[in-house]
């Protein structure tokens, strides 16, 4: 036994050297990339039924995450049971109830209002079904895959404050404080603004709505611009996601008030295009990587079912796209 050890050690070292050489030899691929790819290949969902419950798929983020999850379950050899509630809470609850009766090997919930879904996620756990989430910090979820919303909120707020030179009024859409990521981003904005005494959040705050988010934001901002006709009274418009930002940007442009900048989160392609347009009022958009988030969540399911312990939260890096770097970001996201 003791004599064998050195020999084994040498063998392992040789293998490591070989793999390092092989890794370096693959052009254009980083070592880190290879390592995650190798880890993913070992994962399997063969014979597993994985439920994917989406709150809705009418928004770029949900759709990307949802489709990527379905694909990833199939790629790992599992059977996806995918349901989309079309942003209707009643339907979402019914679908979760039926999913619990279907006894899948795991449920992955994408977004949703916490108070609405939480009791049903608890019932799923009580029924012995592992629950994972995307972008919802529920106590009944084993693991939540999400962007680092504290980072997103801080990056966006700092960009905004810096763009307006540290003073002026900002208009805020705060209709979805009940949705955890939106709440975190909003709180980070407030945290940053606190240290810039000349920056004020205009009261009353606006409420973004679903559906008709774009039209509604357009109408609300148009009305607000009429209320504050003087240039300079409003410096920026902030929303926790970028669909209200889309409507707001259109309203600002239509009113010829291009001195106002708009800010949002999610990296919807149409908003990134506006950020890239030097004449558009769109100031910045923090782009999450929804497809990567979706794939990561499913890989977490596979790890969990393989007996691994998951961290409470898995963060997928988000990229802030501003007027200066938007082209690089869209290239990175593969939607350029």
């Amino acid at each position: 036994m003791t004599q064998e050890k050195p020999a084994q050690g040498v063998g392992r070292r040789d293998l490591l050297k070989l793999s390092a050489v092989a890794g370096a030899a693959i052009a254009g691929a980083s070592l880190i990339g290879n390592r995650t790819a190798a880890a993913a290949e070992e994962l399997s969902l063969k014979g597993k039924r994985i439920a994917i419950s989406a709150t809705g798929t009418d928004h770029f983020f949900d759709l990307q995450a949802y489709n990527a999850q379905i694909e990833e379950v199939k790629r790992l050899g599992g059977e996806p049971i995918a349901v989309d509630a079309g942003r209707n809470d009643g339907k979402l609850v019914s679908q979760l109830q039926t999913l619990i009766a279907q006894k899948p090997d795991a449920i992955v919930q994408i977004l949703g209002t916490l108070s609405v879904i939480d009791p049903w996620l608890k019932k799923a756990r009580d029924a012995g079904i592992p629950v994972l989430t995307v972008d919802v910090g529920s106590t009944h979820s084993i693991n939540n895959t999400t962007s680092d919303n504290w980072g997103i909120g801080k990056d966006l707020a700092l960009q905004l404050v810096s763009d307006i030179g540290g003073e002026g009024n900002i208009v805020v859409f705060n209709g979805f404080y009940g949705v955890t990521p939106c709440a975190i981003r909003y709180d980070q904005l407030v945290n940053v603004v606190k240290y810039f005494p000349k920056v004020k959040i205009l009261e009353p705050e606006l409420r973004d709505v679903i559906p008709n988010t774009v039209q509604d934001a357009f109408t609300q901002i148009t009305a607000l611009l009429n209320k504050y006709p003087e240039k300079g009274l409003i410096k920026a418009i902030w929303s926790a996601w970028d669909i209200p930002q889309l409507g707001a940007t259109q309203a600002v442009a239509a009113a010829g008030r291009n001195e106002i900048r708009t800010y949002g989160v999610d990296g919807s392609p149409e908003v990134l295009q506006l950020v890239a347009d030097p004449n558009s009022p769109a100031g910045a958009d923090v782009a999450q990587q929804p497809a990567e988030i979706g794939r990561t969540a499913i890989q977490n399911v596979a790890k969990l079912l393989a007996g691994q312990t998951l961290p409470r939260e898995t963060y997928v890096h988000a990229l802030i796209a501003n007027k200066a770097n938007v082209n690089e970001v869209t290239k990175k996201l593969g939607i350029g």
Binding site: E79, I81, A82, V83, D84, G86, R87, N88, D89, G90, K91, V93, S94, Q95, Q97, T98, L99, A101, Q102, K103, T113, S115, V116, D118, P119, G175, F176, Y177, G178, R207, V209, I210
Partner: protein
């Protein structure tokens, strides 16, 4: 079935008058349609039970019953209005404010709870909200003489607006002992809401189908002139139908808060499915008229359809298409039958 879209004045069109002397062919076709719709229901259940895993489990059937509770109670409320208002879709009875009513009542319930009141006060507040909406509908239709389609459409907008004002379009969470009891499972592991639906249907059916008051509602809806001539308080009966419907909205609001652990936005989306369910209900009755049991059956039919599609892992996108197709079939069949009878 209230599907004759006829724009001519009522004087030229006496709905249901033919059913006193129905032709034999019409009768046969009617019973064929009735039997056909029941057969279709059973066939769909049969196919699902063979193909969809878990479909026939007690838990799943209980789930469907529980999930149908809110839409079922709204549809039964609408059925009462359909019965009392008569069988013409355009000029007859309809209550478009029901879904918005449920939303506002739910918001009132959740807000009352948030203000620190108990279940009793919150239930009372929700039911009073529904009752008042019913009174406004009744006043607009019976008092001001506005066509129900327009009157309740206007009330729907007012109610939806009030809900927005009250909730600021946000979710208001609520948790009370009653809500917990309603969202938990009862005997046999079947959701409490399922039992609520069954008991509610039984009571409503007993009142509407087996009491003199219920019979008078049918009389008023089918032969308003004859009812008036017979000395029935037509206006009072129609008004009470709208108030009953309003109360159903308030009650559904309470159940909705329990189901969603609070009041949420988007209640208006319930409207069309509820209207469709109530209209479809007629094909499950012997005389092809709106009945409480028929409406329950059509609610469950739609519920099982949605459930079976999910169990079969078929996209939920297809469900609304299938629903629409079914309605179109039913509506055309009954319209053709009526024409035949005439």
């Amino acid at each position: 079935m209230s599907v004759d879209i006829q724009l001519a004045p009522v004087i030229h069109f006496e709905p249901g008058a033919q059913s006193f002397k129905p032709s034999r062919g019409g009768n046969l076709a009617a019973s064929a349609l009735r039997a056909g719709s029941l057969l279709a229901f059973v066939a769909i259940l049969f196919v699902f039970s063979l193909t969809a895993p878990y479909f026939l489990s007690v838990g799943n059937i209980g789930n469907v019953l529980g999930q149908s509770a809110i839409s079922g109670i709204l549809a039964i409320g609408l059925t009462v209005v359909l019965i009392a208002g008569g069988s013409n879709v355009v000029t007859g009875g309809i209550d478009l404010s029901l879904a918005a009513n449920m939303g506002l009542s739910a918001a009132v319930y959740a807000t009352t709870v948030q203000l620190g009141y108990g279940d009793a006060a919150a239930v009372a507040a929700a039911l009073v909200t529904g009752f008042l909406i019913g009174v406004v509908n009744a006043a607009a239709v019976v008092g001001a003489g506005i066509v129900p389609l327009l009157a309740t459409l206007a009330v729907m907008n007012i109610v939806a607006g009030l809900e927005l004002v009250l909730t600021q379009n946000t979710v208001i969470p609520a948790s009370t002992p009653l809500l917990t009891a309603l969202s938990s499972s009862g005997p046999l592991g079947i959701p409490a809401l399922a039992y609520v639906l069954l008991v509610f249907t039984l009571i409503a059916a007993a009142i509407v189908q087996y009491t003199p008051a219920g019979l008078r509602l049918y009389a008023v809806g089918e032969f308003p002139d004859a009812a008036r001539a017979a000395g029935l308080p037509v206006r009072r009966l129609v008004a009470s139908a709208f108030i009953a419907s309003g109360l159903c909205g308030g009650f559904a609001g309470v159940l909705s808060v329990s189901n969603l652990s609070g009041s949420t936005t988007g209640s208006g989306e319930m409207l069309l499915p509820v209207v469709v369910t109530a209209l479809l209900g007629s094909v499950f009755s012997r005389r092809l008229v709106p009945t409480v049991i028929g409406t329950l059956l059509s609610t469950l039919f739609v519920g099982f359809l949605v459930n079976g599609f999910q169990l079969l892992n078929i996209s939920s996108v297809l469900v609304s298409g299938v629903q629409g197709l079914l309605i179109l079939l039913v509506v055309s069949a009954t319209t053709l039958l009526r024409r035949q009878e005439a």
